[in-house]
Symmetry: D2
Subunit: 348 residues, 4 copies
């Protein structure tokens, strides 16, 4: 049987194309690049801590926190994304600066957020009224649709990294946003948050979960704060136990082992001085924040040297390895759980 | 404590903004509309069967099937999406025309596809070599990364609706595409596909699934064809059993009950003449294809009259109800499973 | 270091043993056989249809249905179980006889039951009021804690096989029983049960399950009747598709693919004349009912010849294969899902 | 229609009954008590620490550890169970005594075991070679089919409570047992076990689980030791956070939140002095071990006073509440997960 018929480009074809456009239709056969052989939308990119810190501080001096958006955030803007204030096609990354005595008022939104603290001390983030203390190296979660506000009752400013799934949620047209009331919440500074009181012991869960208010409805991690000391110790123990020169931990819901958010995975990778990790390639993008040490990451053959505070993105399907000059800890947030849930996770 | 500090718009601020731009950063506080109060990216839209059919036929006359893209498809192009050939922000919809004696050659891609047959007969779609016969009202699946090709050995053309998750998968930068070999596959036209042989009986599964080749790796429906006669009968029985004037069935994996794809839900809705359904509102978008009958759908207060073959989209969070003039059957494909998996499903 | 200390059997030991007994304690070290090397509690056993049928009929003549227990059932009594009326250590099997014009009144219990029809016609089983017609080769479920009663409005008696998890549920001390009211339920004989109306199409589920009353609360199969014609066709198609000389189907919940009950698996095995199946060995016991044909099953080296209607049990961890003289269909109910759920499933 | 037929007890009936017995059949209608209205197999029972400790010590003096069974265990023998060495119909409980310098050699079995330490120090339990240190109040797991041996290199004896699912696994005829080799394993006493190194941080999991040997294959808890200090702290924090006078924690797999074994749940209940808990009733039985304090438990209306070290069982469906005289901690092991998995869990 003949597999195709063939016609010259006749004037009729031009008329057809005009009629298609008028009818809100497009011919598929003139589309190219709609289905590339492999992911191709993004190149790697790096932002330097020195610049980020300097500009965050200047923003703190010049710009009040109430000038729109309720937050003083510098958004990592990937040059491949046409001016959108996004770090990758799915992830939003930023540097937030909260000066001494400042308060970022309450709001909530369906995009999920995490905060990885870079510098400063004494800030409290309230998540549905649960006051969570923040210190460098801590990871603090404000899950989807939870009220959250940031209080800095001290005198020292704090700078943290914000990671959100805003582009992903926008692409799904599922953003909801609600501003909070005028009055900031009162709170009792506590040694640990309720979330940590309830879910802070490995393998010990409240026997009767009905006594517990779960701000995240079981879809997000019940634990809202992961302390640096615990992460540091866990990495040390893994290295001690396996005898390897690298180890990594995944931040998880202690009640299910699932990722912190259905859209976001967070990990901390430790690479000891002189070690180079095995190259891996995965679908999905990530934002890496250097927490400690210095070294080099090779992404699809391009070298990126980094030191503490630098941030870089790895694109979908890029080949990635890390080499540490000094003992290094790299925090990373990625969209892997979304790809996994949708049957699009692939790695090699 | 003072909640904010305030500075006039000084020249320093302009310098800051310039420095931010130079550093691939943007101030969040000047962004507006990034986080709308509710989903707002799309309006409803309708395409008419008369136009679709006419243009599909003219394309069949004028354009060979091998002119790029391997397929003769007219893509529903929503005017709100800036010229992209997409029906909604997550869904790709199209009308495919395969003339008598034509063959659309094999390829595979990570976006998942479904075919809902509108007109014609005698076409075979091969999914990983499994020949599936197509007839009007049938739903045929070509899951992610399965080889598929369409053979029309007869003389009559066939027109079907194509539904894919291309925009969603592209937004996740997880598109892979691979063209097939030059030679079309041979096949033995069978009364039913292997997929139907293995999974075509309600509640009866192969006891030893290791004897079965599963093209979809368990992430997609093991059943690849849903026959109109079965759908019609199921709807009739539901209406008979419940005594309601409307009923709907969801196409599901018979081995798990999960949606046909992790990204796509398909349903058939029957509304009897004169009945108006309860209004519902959900996150996620849908493409509706009128299979039979006529009536009116009200979407966020706008009325859309339709008859068989018309196609329309419902945006995320739109309020939707249907009223049938004649007994009507409406096929719909939506992105609901993706929203559910990512914690973004909301309805009222 | 010395691994043990040793003392002669002194009179003190006798005193100790006496004091232990008085304190409701036993020394573990005098227990033998508590932990055998492998499952050892049961031998295989067979019951003959000729005998079963004859005795069932005589019971029908001599014994009214209301003489205790509400049911005229002959319980398969395995000689290894110390006189308990059980077929295996976990499964209860029986032959039930319901004469023309008889009614077995309503009750409910936590043990789950299935009925596999051997002979007769015209009986209706009501499950929570849903009338289910019964015919030879059909499998009908009465899940845990559902009301059920059996009506025989015709003149012909019916004989069916009853399979229950009574010993298992008794061993867990979780039996609840409740007799129904005095009055039998009225019902409208329908072409198909509500359960079949709602869940009788492969891969087509009610889109809105809230319209459906689910008697089984999602823990048991939503489909309550599996018709012989469907089972027969599914087996034929599997054999046609795989080209093998044997095939088997598992009865499953069409909405989840899970076993019909959390404690019970049911399967139908077809072996074509002359074929001998691969030997398998599994934990868990089964009751086999020969539906059609004749042949031989070898169980741990012992041969059991069978013809239609015979019933035999296979013990835990026995090596089992079947050889068919004529084309044969064997129904089996086993406790496999319980073993799997409890981490005790093992096979080779 | 007539619901039943009726015949006098004729001589024919006696003949029938004889023929049934000869055919390994029993009439259901003469069985009574097979299906009781509610669980009824067991009464509550208590064992006193004073007695248990005294007899354990005497056994340590008189009986070498190698006299059969490899273990010096006193089995709680419920008087309702016909002499079987079981604490309830599903649970095996015992008191194990390991003298200074003794070694209980390696074996493995499918029944799962837990050890709750009552007295002593310095013992190491090796689970698949992973050395786990034991101290009072610790819970140590030896999951199904894991090799385990107990070393007491010190001079002080240790006494612990053993909880196993032996009766349950025996009732399923799924016991496998294998003795270890002659040579005890060498080991490196470590500050913490590998299991604790890998899974001992709340919400922090190894990112690459392939580097981890999992002795339990994911069916049992990956964490094998739960330290008293952590349990104590978790209970204190729960009470501080909820303001209640009682709290309880469930021991769980930190990687999934599931129970420690598919058959066993373990919990620690704290009741502050003077508080009486709400009465609850559940299917399934439990063995309670008083870890600290004194008080009274009311079981189906019977009062049982207790002090530290006492052990008592609560039968299936018994109404249970606890009242503390002093601040009290009660450890409990139950078969709840088995009932839940099999659809037999019920509570009120």
């Amino acid at each position: 049987m003949a597999t195709t018929r063939f016609h010259d480009d006749s004037p009729d074809v031009d008329v057809l194309y005009g009629d298609l456009a008028a009818a809100d239709l497009q011919p598929l056969w003139t589309q190219h690049g709609l289905l590339p052989r492999a992911p191709d939308r993004l190149s790697p990119h790096i932002w330097r801590w020195k610049t980020l810190r300097d500009l965050a501080e200047r923003s703190g001096d010049l710009v009040g926190i109430d000038r729109g958006g309720d937050r003083r955030v510098l958004s990592l803007t990937h040059p491949d994304l046409g001016g959108l204030p996004f770090a990758t096609h799915t992830l939003w990354g930023g540097v937030q600066f909260l000066g001494g005595g400042e308060l970022a008022p309450a709001h909530r939104h369906t995009p999920a957020a995490l905060r990885f603290v870079l510098e400063g001390s004494g800030v409290w983030t309230l998540v549905n009224g649960d006051p969570i203390h923040m210190a460098p190296g801590d990871l603090v979660l404000t899950p989807s649709w939870t009220w959250h506000e940031h209080h800095n009752p001290g005198t020292e400013p704090m700078i943290w990294f914000d990671g959100l799934d805003v582009p992903l949620v926008r692409n799904l047209d599922a953003v909801f946003f609600e501003p909070g009331g005028e009055e900031p919440a009162g709170y009792e500074p506590a040694r640990a948050s309720r979330s940590e009181h309830h879910y802070g012991s490995a393998g010990l869960l409240p026997a009767d979960e009905s006594v517990i208010e779960d701000p995240a409805s079981g879809r997000f991690s019940r634990l809202l704060a992961y302390r640096w000391a615990a992460v540091d110790a866990a990495l040390s123990r893994l290295i001690e136990s396996t005898g390897e020169r690298a180890a990594s931990v995944r931040y998880a819901d202690p009640a299910t082992g699932k990722d912190i958010m259905p859209t976001l995975r967070a990990e901390m990778h430790r690479v000891l001085a002189g070690h180079r990790t095995r190259a891996v390639r995965k679908t999905g993008s990530g934002i890496w924040v250097v927490h400690r040490g210095s070294g080099t990451t090779v992404i699809d053959g391009r070298r990126f040297d980094w030191t503490a505070g630098d941030m870089f993105v790895t694109p979908s399907w890029a080949v990635v390895d890390h080499e540490a000059a000094d003992d290094a800890d790299l925090f990373v947030v990625s969209d892997w759980p979304a790809l996994e849930a949708l049957g699009l996770a692939r790695s090699e």
